[in-house]
Symmetry: C3
Subunit: 134 residues, 3 copies
């Protein structure tokens, strides 16, 4: 299994497109296999969505509906509402598997791999890529 | 890695059971491995649910609660509320991995693999299956 | 592919931490590969979340917001509101893939693998682990 760990400078962005990182790593393998994309974090998730036409911001905004940043959460470390960030990865799982054909990542035309991170106090996130050839 | 692409005639159905396609492809491999099920689309998702006792329709109906088809969405291409379809794959990820034992797809008695597609303007969807033996 | 099936005594717990089972199985393999974690059940799901600081209970409680246990559901077998349990696995998929480095399960410091089971009438659940070396 080939692996790589990248450090993402997410800054205060809630959505970070990592498709290019995934494509590059897959391309370097040059063969068929499965790519495993993973965030070793408890307050961030991954999604496969269209970017650039508003849907990435729609997703980030709508998370406040699914996970209101109020005082309902038992987890009370950090800033108010931060308990919501800890439930986020249950909904947007930080583990995603994709197919690779001869080094080409298999994605539809409008699909991008994005990191979703509502916990903007973290300015850096690690992204772990693994490739299992077959 | 073995692969297959199928074209599904989803018509106006919101839920399409693709378990039989997955089983057949796994069976043709005849060995142990992982099956990767994938939709190369930005407005459809996959789910593992029981079908036939109402839960598939419950899921499709309840998506209107999670993703209301109103004017809240930035993404404004297509018909009103279509922005919701673009957030759907964040919730119901279009990528799913399953185990295969000697060609037998490993599923519980009541589990089916379904395509969930609230964007009924698309009458066809592509389903990509990949098999990594091991 | 190596495999193992475990029987979990979930009792009336809604959240059951299975990280130790996953780590032990990965450790026994001792090599690189992908671990596939799977529940062969139609009313339970998996999540990767922090445990022990309230977020596991936050998740279980918040499921009542996402999936109200009222009479909206078509699926009407079992106790009132049980239809919600059947939609749960669409949201918290019962299939999860993780990377393994030389027998070490790759997880962040605060990540645990948990079974989420709101259907407390089931006192036992099966957990199926598969390992594909590579």
């Amino acid at each position: 299994m080939e692996r790589r760990e990248l450090v993402l400078e997410t800054g205060r962005r809630r959505i970070t497109d990592v498709t290019a990182h995934c494509r590059r790593f897959a391309s370097e393998q040059g063969v068929d296999g499965l790519l495993h994309v993973f965030l070793p974090h408890a307050t961030a998730g991954l999604a496969l969505v269209e970017t650039g036409a508003g849907s990435d911001d729609d997703l980030a905004d709508h998370l406040d509906e699914w996970l209101p940043r109020d005082d309902r959460w038992r987890h009370r470390h950090g800033s108010p509402g931060h308990g919501a960030d800890h439930v986020l990865p249950a909904l947007l799982r930080p583990s995603l598997t994709l197919a690779v054909d001869g080094g080409d990542l298999v994605l539809g035309t409008w699909q991008s791999v994005v990191v979703v991170d509502t916990n903007v106090d973290n300015r850096e996130r690690r992204l772990r890529l693994s490739f299992l050839a077959g």
